[in-house]
């Protein structure tokens, strides 16, 4: 029997997350050199907004499911009781306001809460995948994870960066001793810094002892970033050496660049930002958001006894965005096996760290202690990114 899937989305429009992930449940996707159609059937859809270009009705008609006016009805397929085996919750894209931290208030928590209400009322729970971070608010995110524990349903969340191809195909050995880690990201807050933080988190959670929780955060921006001694120059060189998209002189005449060594970096990045995240076990990690430097996502870490390891998280070209196929294969694993392939705590800690970083920025770059982010968990042994 195919798994019956409900899609709960903010919008369903071309190249929205709901479209490029939801469609893979409808028409399949490339996996391990085959066109893979999972044993899953989309049976219901809820969309919160129907902007111009909405595809919800069109898809429902073609693939024989119904668009329901409420989340509860979508989960019950119009009946009395929960009538699906899994929920794909995609609260990304759509027109939602921002709060004073600059976070887009996507209603993931609100959608999730409605799912949980159905689970509770109907006395049965099913696996839930939540796209991207859990909520803009750690308190709400924590509640979401707590509910999954309380009701005993498996939950997966997060970005496609941790599971996409890596150039090179680097996985840090589980239990390695990480001395320092640095991530380079680009793009706006809060969507793109979140992706970069989660990419860094999927690497550093593999360190000896596992994730110990976040002790403090600080977000600084502007020229102070260049002068700050907390981030490692060799790690930045390593991360940038993995980039395929340096800007500035490369855009002019396609030359290669040693962006940091040549001094060009400071010229082409007008508004650098550093997200300093200190962990309870003493590890210091840094996300540098360097708009204007590159266009890709690169990571470097210093591993005790082994030197510097670095890689690029490969965001494959639009429109295929095959990285979302990598993510959908993990979601399928969750739905089919009832077990999350990697811990939802990864996304929980990143959701909270991001919120606290943005609070630090709002308070003029003040260092903030984060006792509430004492989220502890272990990484999984088997690499989860695309490599087959």
């Amino acid at each position: 029997m195919p798994k019956r899937v409900a899609i709960i989305a903010t919008i369903y429009r071309y190249l929205s997350h709901a479209q490029h992930m939801g469609d893979r449940f409808l028409i399949g996707y490339p996996l391990h050199g085959k066109w893979h159609k999972g044993d899953m059937e989309v049976v219901s859809l809820y969309v919160d907004q129907k902007p111009e270009g909405d595809q919800s009705q069109e898809r429902a008609k073609e693939f024989g499911f119904k668009v329901y006016p409420t989340i509860a009805e979508a989960l019950r397929c119009g009946g009395e009781k929960l009538a699906v085996d899994a929920v794909l919750l995609i609260g990304e894209h759509g027109n939602y306001p921002r709060n004073d931290l600059g976070q887009v208030l996507y209603p993931r928590y609100e959608f999730f809460k409605q799912c949980v209400e159905v689970f509770e009322k109907d006395g049965r729970s099913v696996p839930v995948y939540n796209d991207k971070h859990l909520s803009y608010s750690f308190e709400k995110a924590k509640w979401m994870v707590d509910q999954s524990k309380k009701l005993g349903f498996p939950m997966l969340a997060g970005s496609s960066l941790p599971v996409t191809w890596r150039l090179p195909d680097l996985e840090l050995p589980l239990g390695c001793e990480i001395e320092d880690a640095l991530m380079v990201g680009v793009g706006g807050s809060d969507p793109m810094d979140y992706h970069a933080l989660e990419a860094m988190q999927c690497m550093v959670e593999r360190r000896k002892g596992g994730e110990s929780g976040v002790k403090s955060v600080q977000l600084i921006d502007g020229d102070a970033v260049w002068e700050d001694k907390r981030w490692s120059r060799p790690l930045l060189v390593a991360a940038l050496s993995r980039s395929d998209s340096p800007l500035g002189l490369t855009v002019e005449d396609a030359r290669t660049q040693d962006l940091l060594g040549s001094g060009q970096l400071q010229k082409i990045v007008k508004k650098p930002a550093a997200y300093f995240i200190e962990r309870n076990d003493g590890l210091r990690t840094t996300l540098l958001m360097l708009d204007g430097a590159v266009r890709d996502y690169n990571f470097a870490a210093r591993i005790k006894g082994k030197g510097i390891a670095s890689t690029q998280f490969f965001l494959s070209p639009t429109p295929n965005v095959t990285y979302s196929a990598c993510l959908v294969s993990k979601i399928e694993e969750l739905f089919v096996t009832g077990k999350a392939p990697y811990p939802v705590e990864r996304t929980l800690i990143v959701s909270g760290a991001l919120e606290s970083c943005l609070q630090s920025r709002k308070q003029g770059g003040k260092k903030l202690d984060t006792p509430h982010l004492a989220v502890k968990y272990q990484g999984v042994k088997t690499p989860q990114h695309a490599r087959e």
């Binding site: 980039s243 695309a386 490599r387």
Partner: protein, 416 residues
């Protein structure tokens, strides 16, 4: 204030190169503009490039450059000012002798790609690689000394000339390396053909034009196939298909549809066949609609291995490989990934592993992979073009039948 760079710019060339004491390299190029092969390769020698997690500067001094066509978009003259250890010369001989009358470099880059050169009646661009090569070896002969040469892409559009280049390097005993960046770039997934695998049939799904990207696709196939049990045994015949004949051949199963589909499933650039969908698998009808000028080269090796190169412009924009291996239920497949500017990236970083392998040629005075690979793909490219020219006739290839070689066990593709 006078900067060090400006100071160096006024200094005698030989002195500044000699101070560094590194092996000297000459670059012999057709042209040097943004995104030309010369720019990609020579820039990496001059400026360095990201490698193994650092900015790597090759341990050579690129001391001289000859550029055949210096047009309005030329960058070589600007680079010469910026990197004064490199000086441009009006002739190939001068670039190799640094004006001394005797060979004065330790390695030669021969980059005969891009530039305005005539096409013949078969639509082959007559890039002057052979002509440049002849001038290079004349300096070698006159100087009584030969040094390693890297020849970018295929050896020559003309088989006889390509064979002469190969023979000359053997006769004069200098290492010659050639070929595409496809064999050495990233792979998604990062896998290597197992050595001594029993390969049943192989397909490459690629894009681009004839006498151009066909060569890259053939190198993609060959760098994998040469690792099979028994090594390369030579190619017996080649037949090209295009247009309606292509679609008929696909329908008739001239090549494995399973392998073609596996290769398509490695693509990151499958053109959506339906509006509103971003990543669907094409039906035969949508393939016909999307691919206006499909081309296939089908060829058989002496040990019976059948290979097919498919150019599917309009459907994909990447290079994907699939083959059957004995003992495996599913096809073995991967993509040779090119971070291709300007659409997807700003740097053509597939030139980084190519440059790194060229460095190995210059340092070890031995090509990291067999020249026979590119001799064969040069001949296959010409044979494919010839078959197209002769109304897609199947052509026996006795000259390619003799290209027999073992593959090196070590992998040379980019994976760290």
């Amino acid at each position: 204030m006078i900067t060090r760079r400006e100071l160096l710019a006024g200094a005698p060339l030989i002195a500044s190169a000699a101070q560094a004491g590194q092996p000297k390299i000459a670059a012999i190029c057709t042209t040097y503009f943004k995104f030309s092969h010369s720019q990609h390769i020579v820039d990496r020698f001059l400026i360095g490039y990201g490698w193994n997690g650092t900015h790597h500067k090759p341990p050579f001094d690129l001391v001289s450059i000859f550029v055949d066509q210096v047009g309005s978009t030329d960058l070589s003259r600007g680079r010469e000012k910026e990197y004064p250890s490199m000086k441009s010369y009006p002739t190939i001989a001068d670039a190799l002798t640094l004006g001394t009358g005797k060979l004065a470099v330790d390695g030669v880059l021969l980059i005969g790609e891009h530039g305005k050169y005539e096409r013949n009646e078969k639509r082959q661009t007559k890039y002057p690689r052979y002509e440049f090569f002849k001038e290079i070896v004349k300096v070698f002969a006159d100087s009584g000394r030969a040094v390693p040469v890297f020849n970018d892409k295929h050896l020559s559009w003309n088989w006889d000339w390509a064979k002469e280049m190969y023979d000359t390097s053997l006769k004069m005993k200098f290492p010659l390396m050639a070929g595409s960046s496809l064999p050495v770039t990233w792979r998604t997934p990062s896998v290597e053909m197992p050595v001594n695998a029993k390969v049943g049939e192989a397909v490459c799904v690629a894009y681009g034009g004839v006498d151009s990207y066909d060569f890259h696709a053939l190198e993609t196939l060959q760098c994998m196939e040469e690792r099979r049990k028994g090594g390369e045994t030579g190619v017996k015949w080649v037949q090209a298909y295009r247009g309606e004949n292509f679609w008929k051949a696909m329908k008739d199963g001239v090549w494995s549809r399973e392998l073609m589909d596996a290769a398509l499933c490695r693509s990151h650039t499958l053109k959506p066949s339906r509006p509103g969908f971003n990543n669907d698998f094409p039906t035969d009808d949508s393939m016909r609609r999307l691919v206006r000028q499909p081309v296939a080269y089908v060829y058989e090796h002496n040990d019976g291995l059948k290979s097919t190169m498919l150019l599917l412009s309009g459907l994909v924009e990447d290079f994907n490989f699939a083959c059957h291996i004995d003992g495996r239920k599913d096809p073995f497949s991967t993509q040779m990934y090119l971070p291709m500017p300007p659409g997807r990236t700003t740097l053509a970083n597939f030139f980084s592993p190519l440059t790194n392998n060229i460095e190995k040629l210059f340092l070890n005075k031995k090509s990291p992979y067999p020249l026979e690979r590119t001799l064969l793909t040069t001949g296959l490219t010409a044979a494919g073009v010839e078959s197209l020219h002769q109304s897609e006739k199947r052509l026996d290839t006795p000259h390619l039948s003799k290209i027999v070689y073992p593959a090196p066990v070590d992998s040379t593709f980019w994976r760290s």
